[in-house]
C-alpha cells in the first residue's frame, strides 16, 4: 500500500467521514456533485546513457587533448586507476497512463458545507520508470471537508495551500476568520506535512530514488496567516514551521510577506520576501511594477527578483551555503493592430559571490534571457504564433525559434501544429546540440462535457560533440487525453473563454 494511503491516513479519512456523517442531516437527496475525470496517455521512447569504465592505461589522447577510450569516448580519470565515461544507454519505451478525478459534493443539508476530493491513478506501460512522476499508483492530492460562512471557514482533511513560501500540502485542519467589511482575515493551520512539490509524505519510497537522508516520520506542520484585502492593496503575511516529531527539532521555520498595490487604474505594484529562521538568511524576494492600458492594447512590466533555494533541514544541503542570484527584468506587450500582438521580454541576473576557489575551472556567474514573440489572429479560426528565445548563463545556454498555428474551423474542433528549433550548448559538458521539434494536436469537444485531444511530437537531436559519444536524444511522443465532466451545475460548461485565454488559466480544460 502506498504511503499516501497508509493505515494512519485511512484512519483519519474514516474519522473524517464519520464526522461528516454526524454533522450532516440525512437530506442527501438535495446533494449536488461535480465530477471531472481527466485521463491522459502517452507513448514515449528515448535513449539515456550508461556509465562505463576503462583502465587508465588503456586510454588514448582524444580529439580535445584529454584522455579517451580507443573507440573514441572522452573519459574522466582524475588520477584513478580506472577512468569513467558514458556510453549510449538502451532505448527506453514507456507509456504513462494517468487518470485524475476531481469531485466536489455540496447540498449536504448544512448550508456552506461541501466535500472536495482530488485523486490520481497512474500506470506505467512499458519499461519501468521510463517516465517520472507516476508513482505511487494511487495518490490522493486533496480530500477535505469545507464549511464556510461569511465570517469564517473551516477546512479539515488533506489540503494544499498557496502562500509566499510556495504551494504546500498537509493533512490537518485550517481555520480562517475574516471581517468582510474591512477585508481583514486571520487564519491558522496545523497537521502532518507533505513533501514539497508533490502530494506525498516525505516518508514515501517514491521520493527516495537515491536512498539517502530520508526522514522516517512525517513532519508536524503549524502556521499562521494574516491578510488584508482592500480596494487599493492586498497584503498578507505567513509564519510556517515544520518539526520532526521524532526529535522535536526544526525541519523548517520560515516567514514571508506579500504586498500588492493598485495606485491607479491599470497600475499594479507587487512585492514580497521571505526569511529563513533556521539558517538566519533572507530567502527569495521580488518586486514588480506593471501597467496595462485600457482595452488591452499595451502592457508593460519591470521587475527585480532575488532567488535563493530553500532546503529542509532533514537534508544537509543548506549547510553547503547555496548563494542567491539577483535579477532585473522587463516585459512589453503591444497590439499595434487588433489582430496582432507583439511581446518582448528580457532578464539579466548575477549570482552573489560564492566564495569558492576555482583555480582550475572558470565558470560564469551571470546570465541573461530574452524572448520576442508575435501572435497573429487573421480570422476567428486561425491563430499563428511565432517566437524567438535565447538564454545565456551559468551551466547551460539555449536559443531557438518556435512557431505554432492553430486552426479552429468549428467551436468544438481545433487543430494545432508546432515546430521549434533549439541550440543548447551546455557548460561543463561536451554537449552542444541542436534539437528540432515537430508536433501536432487535434482537439475535439463533441459535447460540453467531453473533450478529447490526440497528438504527436518528434524531437530530433544533432549532438555536436567531438568524440563518439555524440549519441542522439531523439524522442517520439504520442499522447491522448479525454476530459469528462459529470454532475450538475452551470460550471460544467467550463471556464469562460476569456479565462481560458489567460496565462496559465487552465487552457486545457
Amino acid at each position: 500500500m502506498p504511503a499516501s494511503c497508509g493505515p494512519s491516513f485511512v484512519r483519519r479519512f474514516v474519522l473524517l467521514v464519520a464526522l461528516l456523517g454526524a454533522v450532516a442531516p440525512a437530506r442527501l437527496a438535495a446533494q449536488g456533485y461535480h465530477l471531472r475525470l481527466d485521463t491522459r496517455a502517452q507513448a514515449v521512447s528515448y535513449r539515456g546513457v550508461a556509465l562505463d569504465s576503462v583502465p587508465a592505461r588503456d586510454t588514448v589522447s582524444g580529439p580535445g587533448g584529454g584522455p579517451a577510450t580507443t573507440d573514441g569516448f572522452a573519459v574522466r580519470c582524475a588520477g584513478a586507476e580506472y577512468c569513467t565515461f558514458f556510453r549510449p544507454g538502451p532505448v527506453l519505451r514507456g507509456g504513462p497512463l494517468v487518470t485524475d478525478a476531481d469531485l466536489t459534493v455540496w447540498g449536504l443539508g448544512v448550508a456552506g458545507l461541501s466535500l472536495h476530493a482530488s485523486g490520481r491513478a497512474g500506470y506505467q506501460i512499458g519499461d519501468a520508470g521510463a517516465w517520472p512522476g507516476l508513482g505511487p499508483a494511487l495518490q490522493l492530492l486533496e480530500a477535505y471537508a469545507d464549511y464556510s460562512t461569511p465570517r469564517w471557514t473551516a477546512r479539515l482533511g488533506r489540503q494544499s495551500m498557496a502562500s509566499r513560501l510556495g504551494w504546500s500540502g498537509f493533512d490537518g485542519a485550517r481555520l480562517t476568520l475574516r471581517n468582510p467589511a474591512s477585508g481583514l482575515a486571520l487564519g491558522a493551520y496545523g497537521g502532518w506535512g507533505l513533501a514539497r512539490g508533490v502530494a506525498l509524505p516525505v516518508t514515501s519510497p517514491a521520493l527516495n530514488p537515491l536512498d539517502d537522508f530520508q526522514p522516517r516520520q512525517r513532519q508536524r506542520v503549524i502556521g499562521v496567516v494574516a491578510g488584508w484585502a482592500a480596494r487599493r492593496f492586498d497584503v498578507s503575511a505567513i509564519y510556517h514551521r515544520e518539526v520532526d516529531p521524532r526529535s522535536d527539532y526544526f525541519v523548517s521555520e520560515r516567514a514571508g510577506a506579500d504586498l500588492t498595490l493598485r495606485p491607479a487604474r491599470g497600475w499594479a505594484l507587487t512585492g514580497g520576501a521571505d526569511y529563513d529562521f533556521a539558517l538566519g538568511l533572507w530567502g527569495s524576494a521580488e518586486a514588480s511594477l506593471g501597467y496595462a492600458a485600457p482595452g488591452g492594447r499595451a502592457a508593460a512590466m519591470i521587475a527585480a527578483r532575488r532567488y535563493r533555494p530553500h532546503f529542509d533541514l532533514w537534508t544537509i544541503w543548506g549547510a553547503f551555503s547555496p548563494v542567491p542570484y539577483r535579477e532585473v527584468s522587463a516585459s512589453l506587450a503591444v497590439a499595434p493592430v487588433p489582430k496582432l500582438r507583439l511581446r518582448a521580454s528580457g532578464e539579466r541576473y548575477r549570482f552573489d559571490a560564492a566564495d569558492a576557489a576555482t583555480p582550475l575551472v572558470a565558470s560564469v556567474d551571470h546570465g541573461w534571457r530574452a524572448e520576442l514573440a508575435a501572435t497573429w489572429t487573421p480570422s476567428g479560426a486561425w491563430t499563428l504564433d511565432y517566437g524567438y528565445h535565447a538564454a545565456f548563463g551559468a551551466g547551460a545556454s539555449t536559443r531557438g525559434f518556435e512557431a505554432a498555428a492553430r486552426y479552429a474551423p468549428a467551436p468544438r474542433l481545433a487543430l494545432a501544429v508546432q515546430a521549434a528549433t533549439l541550440d543548447r550548448p551546455l557548460e561543463f559538458r561536451y554537449d552542444e546540440s541542436v534539437v528540432r521539434l515537430l508536433g501536432a494536436d487535434l482537439e475535439y469537444r463533441p459535447t460540453e462535457r467531453l473533450a478529447v485531444t490526440v497528438g504527436a511530437a518528434r524531437y530530433a537531436e544533432d549532438r555536436r560533440r567531438p568524440d563518439v559519444a555524440a549519441l542522439d536524444w531523439n524522442q517520439t511522443q504520442l499522447h491522448a487525453r479525454a476530459v469528462l465532466l459529470l454532475g450538475r451545475g452551470a460550471d460544467l460548461r467550463g471556464l469562460p473563454p476569456a479565462v481560458r485565454r489567460m496565462p496559465g488559466g487552465g487552457g486545457e480544460r
Binding site: 484585502a229 526529535s247 539558517l279 538568511l281 533541514l313 551546455l426 559538458r429
Partner: protein, 475 residues
Amino acid sequence: MSVARGVAPLAAALIALALARAARGQTPGAAFDHARHRRVVPTCATCHAGAAQPDASLWPDPASCAVCHDGAIRRRLAWQPPAAARRSNLRFTHARHAAAATRRAARDTTQRPSSCLDCHTDLGAPAVVRRAAVGRCLSCHGVQVRHLSAPDSACATCHLSLAEARALTREDVARFPAPDRHKEAGFLARGGHGAAAGPAAASCATCHSRDFCLGCHVDAPEQPAIQALPSDPRSLAIAVRLAAPPSHAQPSFATRHGGAVGRDAGACATCHTRESCVACHTTPPRVAAHLASGGPGRSAGAVVSRHPPPSHVGGFADRHAGQASAAAGSCAGCHARADCLACHRPQGGRGAGYHPAGFLARHPAAAYSREISCSDCHNTAGFCAACHATAGLTARRALGSGYHDATPFFIAGHGAAARRSLETCVGCHAERDCLACHSALGGRRFNPHGPGFDAERLKRRNPEVCTACHGTSIP
C-alpha cells in the same frame, strides 16, 4: 347547392391550369394551355377533382388525358402527376376556402361567388391560368402591402406554424424569406421583436420555435412568449447570431456598465447569465442575483470577454505567486482550484501544459539558473532525480564519473557552480557523493560552509544536520 355553385368555376380554372402545364412540358409549373383545352374540358374540377373533393387528387388523371392523347387523335403524353404532395406550410385547402367564400357571398349580396379564376389568373388576363399569386391572397384578406411587409399579426392567417407544418424540411426552413420588419433598426433590441412577440406570437411561430429563441435568450424560461412556442429543432436552420447592443461598443463600457446594470438589471438578463458577472468580478456584484444562472433550457448567452488584470502581463504565470498569496481570494474569482493543481501537482502523463511544447529539450538551462522555482511544482527527488536516474544520469560516488567532461579538472573547481545551483546538483547527486570529500569525519574534510553560514543557529535549530558530517563531536 351553393357550395357546388362556388366550386364549379374554381374547378374549371384549376383544370385549365393543369392542362396548360401538361401541354407545355408535362411538369408542374410549366405552362399548360388551359384556354385551348377549355373547349374539351368544361370545368376545372373535371381534371382537378381535388379542388372540389378533399380526398381526391388535385392533379389530372393521365388516363383522362389519354382519351384524346392516344397516339391516333393526338400524340401520346408521358406526363405523370407528382408522387407526393408539395411541401408547404400553407393553411389553405380548396374545399374550406371555397366554403368560406360561399358563406361570405351569402352574407354579403354585393359579393359575387368566388371562382377558380379569381385566384388563378392575373388581373386583366383571365384566360392565362396560373398558380395562385400571393398578391391575390393578400388583397382578398385585406392586406394592402406586399407579402413580406405584411403586419406581424397577418402571417398566421395563411400559414401554419412551423410545428404544424411537419412536411417541411430543415432546408425548406432555411430558405424562409425574412420579413422586412426583421431588417429594421432596433428589431433585435428590447422594444423590437420582444414587444411584437407578445400579441403576434402565432405569427412568430410560422417560422420560429422555442429552440430558435434559446439561441440567444438566457431568460427564456421567464419569457411567456417564448414558453408559448412549441419546440422544434428545425427552427435552428435559420441562423441567428447574438450581437452586442451599440452601448457595449463604447470604450468605457467595461468600466462604467455598473450604473446601467444598477438602473435596469432586467435589460442585461436577456443575454447574460450570472456567470457573465463572475467571469470578471472577484466577488459577484449584488445585481448578479437578478440574473439567472446558466443551465438547461437557457442559452449560454453572451460570452463575456475580459482583459486580464494589469498584473497578468507576459510571463505572469511565472511570477503569480506573490499576488496569489497576497490575495488568494481574487484568483478564485476566475480560476478554479483544479487550475492550480494542474500545474502545482503535475501528473506524469501530461504533455505540454504550463511549460511550452519542447520545454523538455531546453529545461537544463532553465533549471540550472532557476528561471522559475522548479520545486514549487516538482519534487526534486521524486521527479528530477528519478528521471535522471532512469536516463543514466546518476552519480554513484564522488565527482569524476565523466559527466562533467567539457571542463578539465572540474572536480577541483566545482564549488562555485555547486553553490550557484545546488538544486541542479541534487538532481543527480545524493548527499553521500558530497560527503566523500566534505565530511569532517573522513575523506578530504573540505569545509562546505560558505558565506553567511551561521553554525550556532543551525545547531540550535536542528543539530542532527550537523551530525551528518561532524558526528557527535559538533564543534
